[in-house]
Symmetry: C2
Subunit: 470 residues, 2 copies
């Protein structure tokens, strides 16, 4: 928690900006303590650093107005979606204004022929998919939480479907954002493909609110698959399961999801969900396509699994049975928490080349055993990304310190394997010190040059991604 020292506050600027903003927004400049604390970080051990005020903008022009005032007085602005970030992205270490986008939740245009949709950033993924249901289309990025799509774009979220449909980088066609200068930028046209200029869309996606405040998104959609099959199979070791995954990709099998549960996670699920799965590494798969294709694909995987020592291969195309087969995965988080009632779950997020995944997971398990942690592992193994869920007594500073030590050790292990300290949760505050170890000085200098060029006074989400002096 040493990382989370407050940054210097521009007290005069904050006071003046709040005064000016009150003239325009009146009581919509909210400063109640509970509300402010809800808009700081609340989901892990990172300390809550509330903003000085929260405003709920209703239009791009309002965001522009707020940015202009804050830029004039050099006051930080922190965009806020639903607050599900795990790395402190919404904290206000230097104070400032939190912009809560929950009142910018309009779906502006659905283009069924183009299979895209234009939305405001406060729309959540579940709301979007409910809205789209009758069109036969859906938005495929699923990070678990019902996060806002603006927040998902800002942090480059992904999740279980990324192996087939990609991450937010692959699914944001264009966006509108307000820059620190107050200018509005439209990053791209609505065409599927473009070579027109620097890729501002993807620069903005994953920039964690440090370059621009997203006020509109154009997202690619997918056709709801005609048929879906699900399969599960147990394996004698993590290595055997990973080898089956590698063989599936080399075969060209178009998996829609491929998730790993380690033996401890399976044990937790058996207890929580009244299942009787072998207490061994488990792969869960999903295939999307035509009825014939998804059956064939599941069967092909069954053959590959058998060659790698797989046991108890099961597959189905029926919806009710699919849900049962995937029960363990759906309940994984709640099942894990029951391994240590009262503990908080803290998630790691490394991602490595898939050839190193078994080594990385196995190394993590050994380290966890050595440190005496109860921490099941769930992985988006098709991407080489996995999460250790550390079950921590948040009243025990020594335990938190040891857990932080483990997280750092795991990040360094992944980096040594040509991997990353974050596959999908982002850098925020929690991972800032690992970014340079991962990418080196050249990348840090290039990022700093971009940040300096676009936000010279560091008013957009300061203290995130790059260390304060980085």
């Amino acid at each position: 928690m040493a990382l989370l020292a407050d940054l210097p506050r521009n007290e005069d600027g904050i006071a003046t900006a709040l005064g000016v903003l009150r003239q325009t927004f009146g009581p919509r400049v909210e400063t109640g303590q509970t509300l402010r604390e809800q808009h700081g970080h609340t989901t892990t051990w990172l300390r809550n650093q509330p903003p000085d005020a929260v405003i709920f903008p209703q239009a791009t022009e309002e965001v522009q107005e707020i940015v202009r005032v804050c830029a004039t007085h050099k006051v930080p602005i922190i965009p806020f979606g639903t607050g599900t970030s795990l790395e402190g992205h919404v904290n206000a270490p230097a104070g400032g204004i939190s912009l809560d986008f929950s009142q910018m939740g309009a779906i502006l245009a659905v283009h069924p022929q183009d299979m895209d949709v234009v939305i405001q950033p406060g729309v959540t993924r579940k709301t979007l998919n409910t809205h789209l249901r009758d069109t036969g289309l859906f938005f495929p990025v699923d990070p678990g939480a019902d996060a806002s799509l603006g927040g998902m774009a800002a942090t480059n979220a992904s999740g279980t479907c990324a192996v087939r449909y990609g991450t937010m980088k692959d699914n944001v066609l264009a966006l509108k954002a307000v820059l620190p200068s107050g200018e509005i930028v439209q990053t791209a046209a609505r065409a599927r493909k473009t070579s027109a200029g620097y890729d501002l869309t993807r620069l903005m996606v994953g920039s964690e609110g440090t370059l621009g405040i997203i006020t509109e998104l154009t997202l690619k959609l997918q056709g709801i698959p005609e048929a879906t099959s699900a399969a599960t199979c147990s394996f004698p070791s993590v290595e055997a399961a990973c080898n089956a995954v590698i063989a599936s990709f080399q075969y060209g099998l178009p998996v829609a999801r491929i998730e790993l549960l380690d033996a401890l996670q399976v044990k937790a699920c058996n207890a929580y969900s009244k299942l009787s799965l072998p207490e061994a590494p488990l792969l869960l798969l999903e295939f999307h396509g035509t009825p014939a294709a998804v059956t064939e694909q599941a069967e092909v995987f069954g053959g590959i699994a058998a060659e790698h020592g797989g046991d108890g291969f099961t597959f189905t195309t029926r919806e009710e049975e699919r849900r049962q087969l995937w029960q363990a995965r759906h309940d994984a988080y709640w099942a894990a928490l029951q391994l240590r009632p009262g503990a908080q779950g803290i998630s790691t997020d490394v991602c490595v080349p898939i050839s190193r995944l078994a080594d990385c997971v196995t190394g993590a398990q050994e380290k966890l055993a050595e440190l005496g942690f109860t921490a099941p592992i769930v992985g988006h193994v098709g991407d080489g990304n996995f999460h250790t869920l550390l079950l921590i007594d948040m009243e025990n500073p020594d335990e938190i310190a040891r857990a932080e030590g483990y997280v750092g050790w795991l990040n360094d292990l992944a980096i040594s394997m040509d991997g990353t300290c974050t596959g999908e949760h982002g850098i925020g505050q929690g991972k800032a010190r690992y970014l340079e170890r991962e990418l080196g000085a050249g990348a840090m200098d290039m990022m700093a040059a971009i940040k300096q060029g676009i936000d010279p006074f560091n008013i957009f989400n300061p203290g995130k991604m790059m260390l304060p002096n980085g």
Copy 2:
């Protein structure tokens, strides 16, 4: 051609830098006129603007050394792959040094389990795929020309397979580049997925050598499909063909390629390739997957085509027959040139949302008829991207001027349809004046801030992408 005025030259700097570089590189600093002209633009009506010298670097450190010298003396550097750019990217309007990467053609590492490869930028796509053949893997981006992969990355190339496998943006995992500061940047680790910092990889891809000189690439590979099917079908109109494409996507059909030839192009192919296709818009498709899947997919498309007035639907999974079915597409360029022997083909490159594609193609055809041009159309219709091949007498300045007028008219039409002036050829010199019309002042200012932050003295490929005063 008014665009191509020379830019101010830093004569003293160029002379000094050449002297310093000769001390290190000796006769490898080549200044022969023929060689220099070969390293200026040679493929369209854009005027040749040769560099002052050409160097063939052999290592990242040599590039770094050259960049340091050129930065010290404020001399332009223009990277050169195979010179197949269509928009003047390799021209030297302010003089300077062309860096020819043909001697950096090493394949550094193949990782079959991770399905990626690490290469130097001078490797061409055909060389790479020949090298990979025994691994069962291939690199799927196919722009037609046997371009260097460094050049393809710099311009965000794509081509016929983009509808399934994406563009260079989607297939470059990471890259190494030398910045104008002389620093080396590694943009990302080798993990499949990352949320670690700004997306420097995708910022560099498509930046046309204006931000960094690429010296290494890590590329995603695909498994060579077990089976491939091909299909063709004629349609009563461009609109009917486009509607069949839209319906196929809404169905979720995973086409690997889907190309449109307009009636004039089909006529040209009939004459050139001794075919007897109906002189009507033709769609050609390819499917990649398991034997059962590619047969099923082709048949599903046959049904969709029939619902949209398709005629003469044919499909096959046999290699020899596939080649015959696709003969018209493979020969399209050469067949088109025979419509007007002696003329040069000049290609447009707009890309629009697919719902507007039929309107855009039909509008283009009407305009071409009005202007009296012979100009067949070929389209990567799955992406909404199509090329008009204008057949131009390059000795006739009036004709060139009218053709430039058409290109501008078409770019503006596409922009008015929420499309782009370039789907895959890039901005270079030829499209610089359309970029702001397409993206607006906010995006131009953001691009300028990035360029200024990274290349404050504008030594990397000056006069490209942004207008000199942009």
